[in-house]
Amino acid sequence: MTEHRIGTQDEWEAERGELLKEEKELTRRGDELTRKRLELPWVQVEKEYSFETEDGTKSLPELFDGRSQLLIYHFMFGPVYEAGCTVCSSITDTIAANVPHLAARDVTMMLVSRAPLEKLLAYRERMGWSLNWASTVGDDFNRDLGFVNTPEELRPFLEGDIPPVVEQMAKASGTDAAGYVAEGPGLSAYALSDGAVYRTYVTTARGLEPAMGYYGLLDRAPRGRHEQGEAEHWLRRHDEYADAV
């Protein structure tokens, strides 16, 4: 017998009904936050950033690719990395499916990293992805959003107890903790209007969970994420799982 509490269909339905009320409230509260997000003031981006892309050097307005909105995932792949961050890779696995649907809503979705373009494209081929990935020219684009950390900024973190998961992920990217956390993950959103670019939204940390499609599903599976207390984080690149599909 299972150790989980067992109930009758009626008992399950009663408790499920209670939970549904709160799920609906959470959904409506999420709708309300989306409305607030759309009300944020837009900030004009006056600085000229440039990016190396497969089609040559491009400016930020050119990254919109003819659409009015741009979402950039700041993928942790620093110049010293040998492979892209495992967590960012899992996020990117789930981005591809969204690209045609987002384009239909006038949104261009792409990745940006600090590593040289040829390194990014080689890794993209290994992962079997096809979405656009640009390399930043200089550090300002990521730095201005706080997604590049200097050694001085990192010193207190690196002198403390480094969480095992950071060591694990650093090793998986062929670097050490200092090299790994020099990059930060993030998502930033832009609007293009009359030739001017505006930054509208930036998020990081757990704010990126909406981009991690597997968590939405795991949160509805019988045992959930069950990550607590595990010595090693379960996440791998999609071609690294024992039974890789």
């Binding site: 299972t2 989980h4 509490r5 067992i6 109930g7 399950w12 408790e15 939970l19 549904l20 799920e23 959470l26 959904t27 999420g30 936050l33 989306t34 607030k36 759309l38 944020l40 003031p41 837009w42 900030v43 009015s68 909105q69 979402l71 696995d93 789930t94 499916a97 969204n98 045609p100 649907h101 987002l102 239909a104 809503r105 979705m109 609007a191 209007s193 009359d194 509208t200 939204y201 930036v202 998020t203 969970e209 909406p210 499609g213 597997y214 939405g216 599903l217 795991l218 949160d219 509805r220 599976a221 019988p222 045992r223 959930g224 996440l235 791998r236 999609h238 799982y241 890789a244 599909v245």
Partner: protein, 237 residues
């Protein structure tokens, strides 16, 4: 110039930090619901369900494919949004299913199997999956009560006299609706742990998560009006 309200970086930051607090609170409320979801009682399934799959006829227990948890997406086929003879898969369910192959290796890596089921012959599902370039397991529940018992399909009698959908009474339900059910197997016994329907399925649609962060949001004239199969958008042609 844009018609949208603009501001300085400091003004934006002040508004963003206020929103961040609300986002964090929302996320913690979500965490609490995840905890509650895992505390739901499990219901042992005593009925035998049989599916047609790539590996022949299989039971619900076999759909777990050696893992301890199973998520089954109730995919509407032969009925649904923008369905006709050439396009038998529901457009909305196709949109949801576009998200499956990217998450599947990670779910499998965390001991969860994800499959879709539809009440249609397996060869029709195969043909549509090939067109959509999907590789997730998709099984036929044709001839089984499965989709009906888990509240995502309705008999002719129910369509006339009413039935429950999303845990409330609906007077005249359509033949099928969208949904997802979760199961756990323990000591050889399959248990039903959770089902979600209607907007609950939005949680599986990463595209909406991204649109909710984009400058102009979903801007839907009417819900679902813009949805197309991924090979039907103007730019895909």
């Amino acid at each position: 110039m844009t018609d949208h309200k603009t501001g300085t970086r400091d003004e934006w930051l002040a508004a963003r930090l206020e929103l961040l607090e609300a986002e964090k609170q929302h996320m913690r409320q979500g965490d609490e619901l995840v905890r509650r979801r895992q505390e739901l009682p499990w219901v042992a399934i005593e009925k035998e369900y049989v599916f047609e799959t790539d590996d022949g006829r299989t039971t619900l227990a076999e759909l777990f494919d050696g893992r301890s948890q199973l998520l089954v997406y109730h995919f509407m086929f032969g009925f649904g949004f923008r369905v006709d003879e050439q396009n038998p898969g529901c457009t909305g369910c196709s949109f949801v299913a576009d998200h499956f192959d990217g998450v599947r290796p990670h779910l499998n890596g965390d001991d969860v199997t994800l499959v879709a089921e539809s009440i249609a012959p397996l060869e029709q599902l195969h043909a549509y999956a090939e067109r959509m370039e999907w590789t997730f397991p998709w099984v036929s529940s044709l001839g089984s009560d499965f989709k009906y018992d888990f509240g995502a399909a309705f008999t002719e009698e129910q369509q006339r006299n009413g039935a429950e959908y999303n845990f409330r009474h609906v007077d005249a339900p359509p033949p099928q609706r969208e949904g997802m059910s979760a199961f756990a197997i323990d000591h050889g016994v399959v248990h039903h742990s959770y089902s979600t329907y209607d907007r609950g399925v939005e949680q599986l649609m990463g595209t909406y998560r991204y649109l909710d962060l984009a400058p102009l949001g979903r801007k839907e004239e009417a819900p679902a009006a813009w949805w197309r199969r991924h090979d039907e958008y103007e730019e895909a042609r």
